[in-house]
């Protein structure tokens, strides 16, 4: 094992330029991919907060009375994946309103009749997909006793459409860069292999197994992938640190904005993927050479 590692390092050393190019290509690909991931993770969180975590308010008709509540609850529950449901009676709503507008209570006190409707506040569990929320809302609205339902803002739907389009482009770009990195890695291994054809031939003649011959190439691929991943994420982190404080400061006053770096889990899986990419590139080219 140590022997293979030594051989792989010796080869990287003797092919410094080629290996450097490969590692940089992998790093760039990882950088592009992780920029997208970083953007989506943060944008997702922001959108979620705009969407108030999937909250919707159901306003009920005047005819509603508290006895009808259990039946209504079951009906709504049967329509979709509802996380929680809170009944807000018109009396309670008025109280809340009075409390929050203490100085103008005289105006409210003079009200003979409570003008507010009874309401149900619900939280929808899967609110990532705006389409789903929309359908659910329409179904709820169709219930007799429901007067209206208010959820998100209509622009949010449009925004989400654009966002999703962007996401698809992002995925396509990620895929493209992944393939490019794979191609470059496979090519490096191929060049390394051909430059060592004589060596490989001699190893075979003295009784080395194919595993013994191939192992250093695989380790080389793994090292390239790993270093590429670390380098790419390192570049991302540096950029992030330089840019993030500026963004947060300038935007925090307008919108809820909680910029965060990729989660540890994400970082680990990116490095894992790029290491795998190095290995896979090697696998593809050795497979082609040895077929």
């Amino acid at each position: 094992m140590i022997h293979f590692l030594k051989r792989a390092l010796a080869d990287i050393h003797s092919n410094k330029f080629l290996n450097l190019i490969t590692i940089i290509t992998i790093a760039l690909s990882i950088l592009v991919v992780s920029v997208f991931l970083l953007f989506f993770e943060n944008a997702g969180r922001v959108i979620e907060s705009w969407n108030q975590g999937g909250r919707a308010m159901i306003y009920l008709k005047k005819e509603f009375n508290a006895d009808m509540l259990p039946e209504l609850k079951t009906k709504i529950n049967s329509l979709g994946d509802i996380d929680e449901m809170v009944y807000i009676s018109k009396a309670k709503a008025l109280d809340t309103l009075k409390n929050s507008m203490a100085s103008q209570t005289t105006f409210l006190k003079n009200l003979k009749e409570n003008p507010l409707p009874d309401a149900l506040e619900i939280k929808i569990r899967s609110y990532n997909n705006f389409q789903e929320v929309q359908t659910l809302a329409q179904n709820i609205k169709a219930i007799d006793i429901v007067d209206d339902i208010e959820y998100g803002q209509s622009w949010l739907g449009k925004f989400l459409k654009i966002f999703n389009l962007f996401k698809i482009t992002g995925y396509a770009m990620c895929g493209f860069f992944f393939l490019m990195a794979l191609f470059i890695t496979a090519n490096t291994v191929r060049l390394a292999f051909y430059s060592r054809m004589l060596e490989v031939e001699i190893m075979r003649l003295v009784g080395a197994t194919e595993t013994f011959i191939k192992a250093p190439f695989y380790i080389e691929g793994l090292i390239q992938g790993f270093l590429g991943g670390v380098l790419g994420l390192g570049a991302l982190l540096i950029t992030y640190l330089m840019v993030s404080s500026g963004i947060t400061q300038s935007l925090a006053s307008y919108v809820y904005f909680d910029l965060r770096f990729l989660s540890v889990k994400m970082v680990i899986s990116i490095i894992f993927s790029s290491t795998f990419l190095g290995w896979f590139g090697c696998y593809l080219s050795l497979k082609q050479i040895f077929k």
Partner: protein, 222 residues
């Protein structure tokens, strides 16, 4: 242990070996002699399957070379220690690394490898060149490295193709004596050489003389 039945080898239309039948027992010392182009190297190459298309049958320790699987090929080759006529040293690796490769490929422990490689380097007089690269050595020195690599794995059969070809008679003598040491330990030795003169009066062995791909004479040398 090595058995050939009617082995013929063609390169294009040209016969390099014709109907060779041979029987070699464990511990024999065989010279394969004959002029240049007689087919000596070709015969050895068939044994270690560097040439794998031939007519006839070859058995080595019960393995039929025409039917050997690619996964068994390394196992076959590890039985041999081979001195190639063109040395086949890896130019990008040091003398030490070239020799150690055989033991690494056989999965030996690094402490053992170090001890063993230094030992064969000493006995071939190459210990001072351990860190040198093959192409910086003279032809004779490269040849000694090739011999050292062939014996380092303690093979049961040594195939040596012109192992003294680039050496002066004193050094050639030394290499021959070195191989004779292994023969005394029970190693089967096949030496292909056109220089039969050197081999004479050294050891009891069998001389197989080839000419134009045929065995023209087999005699016991005393």
């Amino acid at each position: 242990m090595i058995r050939l039945f009617n082995v013929s080898k063609r390169f294009g239309g040209k016969l390099a070996l014709k109907n060779i039948s041979l029987d070699i027992e464990q511990g024999e010392f065989i010279f394969i002699s004959g002029p240049s182009g007689a087919g000596k190297s070709t015969l050895l190459k068939i044994l270690y399957l560097a040439e794998n298309t031939f007519e006839g049958q070859v058995l080595i320790d019960g393995m039929n070379l025409s039917r050997i699987s690619s996964s068994k090929l390394p196992v076959l080759r590890r039985r041999f220690g081979i001195v190639f006529q063109d040395f086949k040293l890896i130019p990008t690796r040091t003398v030490y690394e070239n020799i150690a490769l055989v033991l690494e490929a056989a999965g030996k422990k690094s402490a053992f490898i170090k001890k063993k490689v230094m030992q064969v380097l000493r006995s071939t007089g190459m210990e001072k060149k351990a860190k040198a690269f093959p192409l910086t050595l003279s032809g004779g020195e490269q040849q000694r490295v090739a011999v050292a690599r062939a014996v380092v794995g303690e093979p049961s059969i040594i195939l040596a193709d012109e192992p003294t070809g680039s050496l002066d008679s004193t050094s050639a003598r030394a290499i021959l004596d070195f191989l004779i040491e292994y023969h005394k330990k029970g190693t089967t030795i096949l030496i292909a050489s056109h220089d039969l003169h050197l081999m004479k009066n050294t050891i009891q062995g069998k001389n197989i003389e080839l000419n134009a791909g045929r065995i023209i004479r087999t005699d016991i040398m005393l």
